[in-house]
Amino acid sequence: MQSLVELSYEFVSNMVRQNVGQEGKKYFPFIFTIFMFVLFLNMLGMMPYSFTVTSHIAVTFALAFLIFLLVTVVGFVKHGIGFLGYFAPKGVPVFMLPLLVIIEVISYFTRPISLSVRLFANMMAGHTMLKVFSGFVISMGIAGGWLPLGVMVAFTGLEILIAFLQAYVFTILTCIYLNDSLHMH
């Protein structure tokens, strides 16, 4: 049990150190909480008869919006109003600047949407497909032999893998956004 906790601590600590740098150490508890929260919510959904919390857009959007607010506030606190310079990268010809700023602002604001929809759609689609395939297992009955069972086992394994993967990707994108805010570009 202790080695599990140490492994996960090491894993997230490496992630934070690689992606955010030395200043990221004070955000480490938050990142670790996010990772464990999303991971265990996803895994709880895999237990039979349970309820997958992350398959509701309300939950994932609240989480992603919180992270987006955190990253924006951290950027403004650290760089002051100069944080708006994030949207105009260096070395851009002046005539391209208006278009580029609009594109950068739009892509910055779609971050919480993409973060939340990625987790939500993965969880919901995965569980929906599990239910649909279970329906096929029942309607095929004994005629399928071992094949429906094999497909269900393989698919459940895939869902568990996706649960881990989505938690990891959620966390690493949070680290990358935090890095963007702390060290502008």
Binding site: V117, R118, A121, N122, M124, Y168, V169, I172
Partner: protein, 75 residues
């Protein structure tokens, strides 16, 4: 055409986005494999980038699936 029929047709068309997702995921894994076979010692360090790229490519396809689901259940 009634709204119900249009909803189903729209949901079906929105699922074409998953073709792009499939191609994108294939591209990412193929380039990882090509790089890993040329330089196996550097492959392990790029594994996190592989997972990140896979999830981002999958996400774009799932946005299309989300549009289909919105058409079916919300509109």
């Amino acid at each position: 055409m009634e709204a119900e029929a249009a909803k189903y047709i729209g949901a079906g068309i929105a699922c074409l986005a998953l073709a792009g997702a499939g191609i994108g995921i294939g591209l990412i894994f193929s380039s990882y494999l090509q790089g890993a076979l040329r330089n196996p010692s550097a492959a392990q360090a790029q594994f996190p980038n592989l997972l990140l790229g896979f999830a981002l490519a999958e996400a774009t396809g799932l946005f299309g699936l989300l549009v289909a689901l919105i058409l079916l259940f919300v509109v």
